[in-house]
């Protein structure tokens, strides 16, 4: 390795380090400041657990938390189920509706989120639907569905059919082959899809903002409202807990992470 190659390598390392600092410093400071004994954004005023205790008192926050979980679990379950079915249907390369279906799956991904929010808001207005849990759930399933289909489909494309064929040669029944051979092989893809849907759902602000009525807040909506009203003391501690939850998710999903990245 000559000197210049080393220099370029050093440059990459430097940029990598700077980007890491850039990505992590704001989050770390937020976490540290969640223990700061101050009501407004200011310097360090001493250590406290006060704002974590305050979190437990807020009924609105508790409601927002359970709403988020309910919507995330239901939309994950429904969009993943629909995704498995659609991906199995799309496995057939000579399927006559393949092009239409692929279009319907990919187009939502390349359109800004806000447009899905606007269009759903108008749909619910036009049909005089009562906005609330039900409309939010519909919206979340809609934006998760493309992702779940694509992740499961990409897993099926890299599929090793020799095991399925071996089972066929040995005379196993189709239903047996599906449940005992194929489905277990699909499982990592399904878990990756479900995980992606879950994180997309708990993360979403804008589409929920357009489709939830008054009185149905999810966590991001609650956080935004609190920031807007200026009472930000508990936001730091709440954010720290949410970041801890992200770390937990990253830690328990070592195996499926690769599938998610390669599907991107």
């Amino acid at each position: 390795m000559n000197k210049r190659t080393k220099m370029y390598k050093g440059m990459n390392l430097t940029i990598f380090t700077l980007v890491m600092v850039f990505l992590y410093v704001p989050i770390l400071i937020l976490m540290i400041y969640s223990f700061n004994d101050a009501k407004i954004i200011t310097g360090w005023k001493g250590f406290t657990f006060k704002y974590y205790m305050e979190l437990r008192k807020s009924e609105a926050l508790k409601a927002a938390f359970w709403n988020t979980m309910l919507i995330a679990l239901l939309s994950t379950f429904i969009s993943t189920t629909l995704g498995v079915l659609a991906a199995l249907g799309l496995e057939n390369k000579s399927f006559s509706g393949r092009k239409v279906m692929q279009g319907l799956i990919y187009v939502p991904l390349v359109i800004p989120d806000i447009l899905m929010g606007v269009s759903l808001a108008l749909l619910f207005n036009f049909t005089k639907a009562n906005t609330g849990m039900f409309t939010v759930l519909i919206a979340h399933i809609t934006f998760c569905l493309s992702y779940t289909i694509i992740v499961i489909q990409s897993r099926l494309e890299g599929f090793d059919y020799s095991l399925v064929e071996a089972a066929q040669d040995l005379g196993a029944k189709p239903s047996y082959i599906f449940w005992k051979v194929k489905f277990p092989l699909m499982m990592p893809g399904i878990i990756a899809a479900a995980l992606l849907a879950f994180t997309l759902s708990i993360d979403d602000f804008i589409i929920t903002f357009f489709t939830s009525g008054r009185g149905f807040d999810t966590l991001p909506i609650y956080v935004e409202g609190t920031i807007r009203r200026g009472t930000i003391t508990t936001i730091n501690s709440l954010s720290t807990l949410m970041i801890a939850f992200t770390l937990f998710l990253v830690a328990i999903t070592k195996r499926v992470r690769k599938i998610m990245i390669s599907a991107l």
């Binding site: 400071i29 057939n92 108008l122």
Partner: protein, 300 residues
């Protein structure tokens, strides 16, 4: 006779397979038709109606389009467009070396490094934006630090400027650029690079004639993932930007949410934004196809 029968059976099997494909995809097809496709027809319909204070009046009007073509909203569109361009360029410039560095690291180290990109990717968007408010605020961490170090005498006012919007947008979408770039770079055959250098090309030349062309697909994917959401972004300018310079996502949201509402205008603006995205996608598609064609030619 035997052959014909076999063919008949094969055709029948293909037919059955096609029907089962329809049945399996039908639920998703219906779902996306009702909740993705049809709503856009309603957006088109509403864009030709008259605004009411809380709702729309079902009277046909071209006012929304007239105002748009009179240039009333050209500024927010321009702001968003420039934001998306700046963000994408900065993300490529910062993301490329990072993705390259990870892709060339040893396999064990690689996975650990990737986690560092994935954690922000999975962290809640609103929290990540909010963290910059603490960092950049007038009395925030950065200003305190810089004043204490004696580098500045007065706190910098970065928060609530267009600079803050660009900075935070880059921050939010950088992982969306790094991950697809990494995916293509990881598959790249680096022995080609070595070969070029053995044949006398220097690093810069080897990079521009081998690495960069072979990783263009990752740049395309990353650009899509960064450019489009920045173009429609609402939350970032809303939380760290300035009410004097609005972005198109904010204008659309205000027209839908704030009273007096103007849903026809929000619809018309949404359709213009959609059109803009469609044109961009077509350009990208054209460039991508051309790139693939020239790549194929080179290998033939």
């Amino acid at each position: 006779m035997h052959k014909e029968r076999q063919q008949h059976i094969a055709e029948k099997a293909a037919h059955h397979k096609n029907i089962s494909s329809w049945l399996l995809t039908l639920p998703s097809l219906i779902w996306l038709s009702i909740f993705f496709l049809i709503p856009y027809f309603i957006v088109v319909l509403y864009s030709f109606l008259t605004p009411g204070t809380l709702d729309v009046k079902f009277e046909v009007s071209l006012d929304s389009y007239r105002q748009i073509f009179d240039g009333v909203y050209y500024k927010p569109f321009l702001n968003s467009f420039l934001l998306a361009i700046y963000t994408t360029i900065i993300c490529v410039l910062l993301g490329y070396p990072v993705a390259y560095f990870i892709a060339r690291a040893r396999e064990k180290v690689r996975n650990t490094l990737l986690i560092f990109i994935i954690i922000p990717f999975w962290t809640n968007l609103i929290i990540r934006i909010f963290s910059w408010r603490i960092f950049l605020a007038y009395n925030g961490v950065m200003n305190n630090l810089l004043t204490n170090m004696g580098l500045i005498s007065q706190p910098l006012e970065i928060i609530r400027t267009d600079w803050a919007v660009i900075l935070v947008t880059v921050y939010v979408y950088l992982p969306y650029m790094i991950l697809p770039l990494y995916s293509t770079l990881e598959k790249l055959d680096f022995t080609l690079l070595q070969a070029a250098m053995d044949l006398g090309a220097n690093e810069v030349k080897a990079f521009f004639s081998i690495t960069l062309p072979l990783s263009l697909e990752g740049i395309f994917a990353g650009t899509l993932l960064v450019f489009i959401p920045s173009l429609g972004s609402y939350l970032i300018p809303q939380l760290v930007g300035n009410q004097k310079s609005l972005y198109i996502g904010q204008v659309i949201t205000y027209k839908i949410k704030n009273i007096p509402r103007n849903w026809p205008m929000a619809s018309a603006l949404s359709l213009i934004l959609l059109l803009l995205v469609a044109v961009l996608l077509l350009i990208m598609y054209y460039l991508f196809k051309r790139h693939q064609r020239s790549k194929r030619r080179r290998y033939e």
